[in-house]
């Protein structure tokens, strides 16, 4: 499943031209990205939430050398799947 497949699915539903569909889908990505880059979560009911989390600095270890290092504070993106999606994937809906 790639962006092209998603565009095809949307195109089939909407009956838009390929070009318009691709533009709309790209814009949808842009909006999601822009929101996340602003530090705001994107919550899609029935699918899941994408959120930016602040991680504190912590002590870590280079797994290869065993050397101790400090992992700096950072922001990471996390996806929390909805119960609906979890059930669908396990075919227990």
């Amino acid at each position: 499943m790639t962006k092209a497949d998603i565009i095809s699915a949307v195109q089939q539903k909407m009956g838009f031209s390929r070009r318009l569909t691709s533009e709309v889908v790209d814009d949808l990505f842009e909006i999601i990205k822009k929101t996340l880059l602003n530090g705001e979560s994107v919550k899609i009911s029935g699918f899941g939430n994408l959120e930016v989390r602040e991680k504190n600095a912590r002590r870590g270890r280079n797994p290869r050398t065993g050397e101790e290092i400090t992992i700096s504070a950072r922001k990471v993106l996390r996806f929390k799947p909805s119960q609906v999606l979890r059930k669908a994937i396990n075919n227990r809906s």
Binding site: D5, V24, L28, L37, V52, L77, N91
Partner: protein, 91 residues
């Protein structure tokens, strides 16, 4: 931002009515979800990829009562953020 806000923004930016934008947004997430339900990975360049990870069953414990329970094997959707977005989120 929730789904209705996303729909509104797509509608506004693309000059679609709300109903159309809603179908676009729903179809988008549904097609990823349906792919995942078929164990297919979904790669969205510039954002990241979704895939299904298999977890084996294990014997767990109810943390409150200490009673051992069998946790069944399960599949969970997993999102791996794309490199570019990962770096930009942190900067």
């Amino acid at each position: 931002m929730n789904k209705s806000q996303l729909i509104e923004e797509v509608a506004m930016r693309e000059g679609l009515n709300l109903k159309m934008a809603e179908i676009v947004v729903n179809t988008f997430f549904d097609s990823i979800a349906e792919g995942l339900a078929r164990n297919e990975r979904a790669e969205i360049r510039g954002l990241g990829s979704f895939k299904v990870k298999d977890y084996e069953g294990y014997v767990g414990r109810n943390p409150k009562t200490g009673v051992a329970i069998e946790v069944e094997s399960k599949k969970l959707p997993f999102f791996k953020v794309g490199k570019e977005l990962k770096e930009r989120v942190d900067s």
